[in-house]
């Protein structure tokens, strides 16, 4: 009887390992240029010009729409609309997206988790082409 139990335990162990060792998936997604944070403290409303902003941070991304990223989210049926939308010339938007995906794929159980965070800078320009106000949010820190 003892030997039978041992044999059964071995078989169950093998099956259990087979179930457990199916797969683990880790994915990282990065989109857009990294926003140089050291330059953000140099932005002075009423003083900094639009030209300086473009020199420091590059072309704003309301003109370079992150379509691939939004396409993925649409395909995954997460959101049908683009996450960010700035169609106005007096708003300059800069965004760095980071997506982390991790999944445990077993035969009987699967767990999939996806997190998308953004570093996001928005600069409002007045009629004299100077910064009116700005906002920055560092969301990618939350992924660490």
């Amino acid at each position: 009887m003892k030997r039978l139990l041992g044999f059964l335990a071995q078989m169950i162990g093998v099956l259990f390992l087979f179930v457990l060792l199916t797969g683990c998936v880790i994915g990282r997604y990065y989109e857009g240029p990294i926003i140089p944070e050291e330059k953000i403290k140099d932005i002075k409303p009423g003083i900094t010009t639009k030209e300086e902003i473009i020199r420091w941070f590059g072309p704003p991304q309301n003109y370079l729409s992150p379509t691939i990223f939004n396409q993925i989210l649409r395909e995954l049926d997460v959101t049908r609309e683009p996450l960010n939308y700035y169609p106005f010339a007096n708003i300059l938007s800069y965004q760095f997206n980071q997506g982390n995906v991790r999944a445990v794929v077993l035969i009987l159980f699967n767990y999939i988790e996806g997190k998308v965070k953004s570093d996001h800078l928005v600069v409002f320009i007045d009629e004299n082409d100077r910064v009116q106000y700005y906002g920055f949010y560092k969301g990618t820190e939350e992924l660490r």
């Binding site: 959101t79 035969i107 009987l108 999939i112 965070k117 800078l121 409002f124 906002g135 920055f136 949010y137």
Partner: protein, 137 residues
């Protein structure tokens, strides 16, 4: 020594387990988080007719969306979460039959909309915290 009867029983148990594994497509749990949680309670930070656009940008950071209207701008902040759970019992190899399927998808978001007047002062705002309504399964 293991008797023939015991071996047969053992074989049956194993066959049942293999059959169960083949039949049970499994359980899938999915979690999607998009964006960042709205950092502060708008009730505590926003005062209608007092708080300015500049204050809002400092408190809540860059909005996810801006809309211009003839009487002032609108800032939109959103934090989206999607929880999905699926349990399926099927035979996917030979007959492709699904015996039982249970799916639950919850799509919720925290949503803050701030309306400004022409001078960039908060005229009104709306806040909905939907993420709290999510259940684990």
């Amino acid at each position: 020594m293991v008797s023939i009867k015991e071996r047969k029983n053992c074989g049956r148990v194993l066959a049942f387990m293999v059959l169960l594994m083949i039949l049970t497509g499994g359980c899938t749990i999915g979690r999607v988080y998009i964006g960042s949680e709205i950092r502060y309670d708008p009730k505590e930070k926003i005062r209608k007719g007092v708080t300015t656009k500049s204050d809002i940008l400092e408190i809540f950071g860059a909005p996810d969306r801006v809309t211009h209207q003839y009487d002032g701008d609108i800032f939109i902040y959103a934090y989206l979460r999607k929880n999905s759970s699926k349990f399926v019992i099927e035979e996917p190899y030979f007959t492709n039959l699904t015996f039982f399927s249970y799916t639950r998808i919850q799509d919720k978001k925290d949503h803050l909309v701030i309306l400004f007047d022409k001078d960039g002062v908060v005229k009104n705002y709306g806040f909905q915290r939907g993420v709290r309504e999510l259940t684990p399964f």
